[in-house]
């Protein structure tokens, strides 16, 4: 036992063990999120959702995964083969990479980078680009239009996202997510304390996270009624599956990031810390899903106007007010 702990103290082995555990857990959770989302959407629509495969349809994700991996792999004749094949895997890579710095409890995190917030924002912002590469490589007009919209949306909403995530950084005076959580445990959750900027920043962060993940109401890049399937039009089988799971993982990790930065992370009144972190993440994710099945989608021009005319100056003002507050109160 002691020898095992000593081995874990080695940073490389620590990274390997936690990396393997967290990545595996994320991939299996993502599979079951599809089940949850289908059931949840079905309830909102007064339907049953998946019921046939296993009790309550619980084996459905496994059946889906097996089906997707066995599908014939079709690469369009005119596509750029190398980029077309690599794009889904790289999208998944950027989606998963955010998890490296998310602390699930004091001990349960892959790496406590002292620039954690910066790293998470940078990596999650990169996810839009391999999607575009895949869309371009498909040599399909629907895919290209969808990809252009996706990347324009991703870079636009990245700015209010970064600015709103800087509010906890200003309040805690640290870029390490672990230290931000510890500061909140001492002084109160940033979503509620100090009253004012925190709650706005929290709402803004979740809103822009929705937009970054191309989820409804910001899913004009893959608007089915006009662009078939957007950037993923030409993708079949497991390659489409990789894009889809990358999107789910992105939403899930954005919820986790929101929980850690604004809702006190693993802070809870009793019990084990990791439970509270997972509970908050799940609640935020349920909220995101609920929004997805409730709202309609915005038009492209409304989307861009919302971001550039309102959110960007709003987020800047919010950050300055927070800075002023911290400066005055010390």
């Amino acid at each position: 036992m002691n020898e095992a702990l000593e081995l874990l103290a080695n940073p490389w082995i620590h990274g390997f063990v936690f990396g393997a555990v967290i990545v595996t857990a994320l991939m299996s959770v993502t599979a079951y999120i599809t089940w949850f989302e289908r059931k949840f959407a079905a309830r909102l629509h007064s339907r049953m959702g998946p019921t046939m495969v296993g009790p309550k349809g619980l084996l459905q994700p496994i059946a889906d995964g097996l089906k997707m991996i066995q599908k014939e792999d079709i690469v369009p004749r005119d596509a750029d083969r190398l980029l077309f094949n690599a794009a889904p895997a790289i999208t998944l890579f950027f989606a998963l990479a955010v998890a490296a710095v998310i602390p699930f409890s004091p001990g349960l995190l892959a790496s406590n980078l002292d620039i954690g917030v910066l790293y998470a924002l940078a990596v999650s912002g990169l996810m839009g680009f391999p999607v575009w590469v895949g869309a371009w490589a498909s040599n399909n007009k629907y895919a290209l239009f969808g990809g252009m919209r996706a990347v324009a949306q991703a870079i636009s909403y990245e700015i209010p996202m970064v600015l709103s995530a800087l509010v906890p950084v200003v309040l805690a005076g640290s870029l390490s997510i672990g230290q931000i959580v510890e500061y909140q445990i001492e002084h109160g959750w940033f979503a509620f304390w100090p009253p004012g900027p925190g709650i706005f920043a929290f709402v803004l962060f979740m809103l822009t996270a929705l937009a970054e993940g191309n989820r409804i109401p910001f899913d004009i890049p893959e608007a089915e009624s006009e662009l078939v399937a957007g950037p993923t039009t030409e993708y079949t089988g497991i390659k489409f599956g990789l894009f889809a799971s990358a999107e789910y993982i992105h939403s899930l990790l954005a919820s986790a990031l929101g929980a850690a930065l604004f809702l006190g992370g693993w802070d809870g009144p009793f019990g084990i810390p990791v439970f509270w972190m997972l509970l908050k993440t799940c609640m935020l994710f349920v909220g995101v899903t609920w929004i997805r099945w409730t709202l309609l989608r915005f038009r492209s021009d409304q989307l861009m106007a919302l971001c550039w005319v309102y959110l960007v100056p709003g987020a800047l003002g919010l950050l300055l007010i927070t800075g002023l507050y911290v400066h005055v109160r010390g």
Binding site: P11, T91, F93, N140
Partner: protein
Amino acid sequence: MLEQWAPAIVFLAIAFSVGFVTLFAARIMAVRAKRPSETKTLTYECGEEPAHQAWIRFHPRYYVIALVFILFDVEAAFLIPWALNVRGLGTFAMVEMFLFVAILLLGWVYALRKGALKWQ
């Protein structure tokens, strides 16, 4: 330094391999048509034969958005060190930051009045 980054590097390596391992598994497990048909690999265009390639020029508004994005992204990069140490930097830095953002907002107003942020 290495203490922090070594786990992250290993994590990134694992995350990177997941997608490619899945693709490799799919290559082994996926079915393959014995006699692939000509039309199957045609680019999808609602059943029509695709007209020309899709690698076309697109609307300049995307370039404008990208330009404005770079402006504000650099600004965010300058804001981060300030945000990290608001307490320690004092009044001078606070005023400085208000000035900095005000100058940028001038540029934003200019772009807005020019219609660069309009999407049509």
